[in-house]
Amino acid sequence: MDQSQLRALEARCIQEEMPFCTASCPIHVDARGLMALLTRGELREARKILDRTMPFPEILGRICDQPCHPFCKRGEIGDPLWIGPLERYCVSVTDTVLKPPKLPVKGGAVAVLGAGFSGMTAALDLSRKGRPATLITARTRLGGSLPDRAGSLLPPEVFDQAEATLKRYGAEIVTGASLDRQTVAALLDKYDVLYFDWDDFTIDHLPFIPGTPDPISLALERDGCFGGGGVEDGKPFSIMHQAENGRRAALSMERYLQGVSLTAEREKEGACPTRMYTVTEGIPPASEIVPDNPIAGYTAEEAQREAARCIYCECLECVKKCAYLQEYKEYPKTLVRKIYNNLSIVQGNRSANKLTNSCSLCWQCTVICPYDFPVASACHAARQEMVASGHMPPSAHSFALEEMHYTLGENCALIRHQPGTTASRYLFFPGCQLTGTYPDTVERTYIFLTQHLEEGVGLFLSCCGAPADWAGQSALFTDVLADLTAQIRQMGNPTLIVACSSCLAAFGKYAPELTVVSLWEMLDELPLPEVLFDLPESPLTVHDPCTARYQEGVRASVRSICGKIGLPVAETTIGAELADCCGYGGLLQFANQPLGEKVATLKVSRSTTETGLVYCAMCRENLVGTETHIAHLLDYLFADPEKNPLVRAKVGLSGRHEHRSRLKSRLQSTLWQDPIGSPAPHRAIRLEADDETWALLNERLILMEDIQKVIHHAETTGRYLHNPANGRRLAAFKPAVVTYWAEYEPISDGYFLHRGYSHRMQLPEDRA
């Protein structure tokens, strides 16, 4: 990803766009921030916001005609906020807190003719920028028509204060000047750049034809002359219009003096549209607080209550749903910047590796986002880049990848035509996780398919390679997929019946040449088996897997099957195309175990009933871990009638590992009557341990088979440590990159395991 791609990506997240009030305010006052501070009663801080943005806050803050008012989002649920009167309250109870800095004087002779509020603003802005202006009025005082219009709302001393401010920034004020055509002509010669304030300068006194001011720069026909302010055609007098024109003119005059474009990149100046997206659904309505005494304005208590109606418009729609974004306290715009910066680190700690590996690549945020922000593809691409540059932390995905290799290897993988046939019209592909979790169910489902479909149903026990894809191992993934498709071709290109939504998504995206159908859509077409259980009376909440987000047909078939077998179901609060991940997606639970658990808990919390129903094996494993009763739909169709689908335990890593290889050898002998080779000798070792030890091994990503290897190695070589006090043995073995340790003791027909642990650090080869 290069800088420009990153910027384009960042720009799709509008969380940092202006809220509706700020965008519609011609000088972009941070009303949202102001409301927060007023609500908390932090008046000095609130005043700082006005001092920072407003010219002469003691004037503008008191009488702003609040063009933002109709745009306030609160209007959708109650009444828009009275931002103007709240500013008035703030200004009347505070004095100036912040005095914006004055830049060093840069030269250029600047005159402002007419000292209405736009002229005052132009003179102030230019003087602050280091272009001290001469402000000239025919009247005896500042303000143009303002003092007459505002009446008692403006105490007379505010004009004295304004005058002091202007002088402090170096402006010169000339009152009572004669501004006839002749004097003006002389001024045109004397000054480099001039502004004419139509509120306090009569257009007839111009010695040239002004033309219509340019709407962006306010430039007049004559070079170096600008004009604005006064009353717009058909509109009432607006002080905010004066402020906006004065500010706009000052910027144009500064650009004029610098000799740069007067109009380039000024879209965000003045009231402008915003891409901000704020959902008001679910926010209780609240009506406006009207001051008891409208002339005096808000009291402290009234102001606080009115300000507290602000809903702090922002987006964060994706963050509201995604546990990952919440965990890292990021929204996608800031997130992708961190991920990108992490990739560009040459030396030092890559502190965002874990961040990059903790997204479950589930695409929920993209569906939610009004601008389809693709966090998943950014994280995925970053992982691929980390792998390519050798910066992927080895421990992040190695367990999952080793399991994938194991599943693809001779111990577990199997591809056969239906027993007694030599051709397949279909090929059942249960996927690695269903096989690991429910080997018996896989067998029953397969037999059912062979009984109900004609022209042969082959069986393909394997893995679609999704773990490699999620880990960013693109080369490996391509190889796996190429190998799978070659094997399928050799079977005569049968239609793949796929049980797992992840496999379905992977094949659909990366192997479109395959003919693929979901097991669920297939079952929905067939006469279903008779259900051998007492079906529960209260409905089960259906949890869609995140990988079925774009599989509407699959989701519909699952519900249709439930209806046909009479299983009562309910929907989640967030499901279907918005479904959360269970923690397995993107290998999240391997890269960030605690977050994986939080994600699973969140998914379960979307239930609307006490029990749940899933149709993804990994969802079952992870959601069962949250101690809720969750059944798998295949359990009701094909599982052992002795076992209640709602109370089956979590299978765990070792269990899944064992099941895959055992299913292969069992089916080889029962269905195909193949001679079976003898298993590796370490597999024959019988192990016992208590539940806590098994759970700890699971958490540490240590398989029972790893421990069997340690013990087998120790007992055949005699190399182990021995504790005479309790008779225990301690040994280590390093089958590949990880060194596994087992503390165990011999029992009558095997071994009892007390502890298991591992490390990646290497001990000297010659000594270990």
Partner: protein, 69 residues
């Protein structure tokens, strides 16, 4: 390079050599980094003991640090 000592008296004995373990300097490595540490080792056959608290504590910490370099 300084040597950190993780050597601690232990009841474990080498079964093959029937010897108590003794502190010894060992070079452990991970991802191009080399550390000199002192561990309990069998003086006869050099069997090195990595106790659980070291493997799952300090070692894991350093492994993760190195992986993020």
């Amino acid at each position: 390079m300084s040597t950190f000592s993780f050597a601690e008296a232990t009841e474990w004995r080498c079964a093959a050599c029937d010897q108590p373990l003794q502190p010894a300097k060992v070079k452990v490595t991970y991802l191009n980094a080399v550390f000199n540490v002192e561990l309990m080792v069998c003086p006869a056959c050099n069997f090195i003991l990595v106790p659980e608290n070291l493997a799952m504590g300090k070692m894991l910490e350093v492994e993760q640090l190195l992986e993020d370099k």
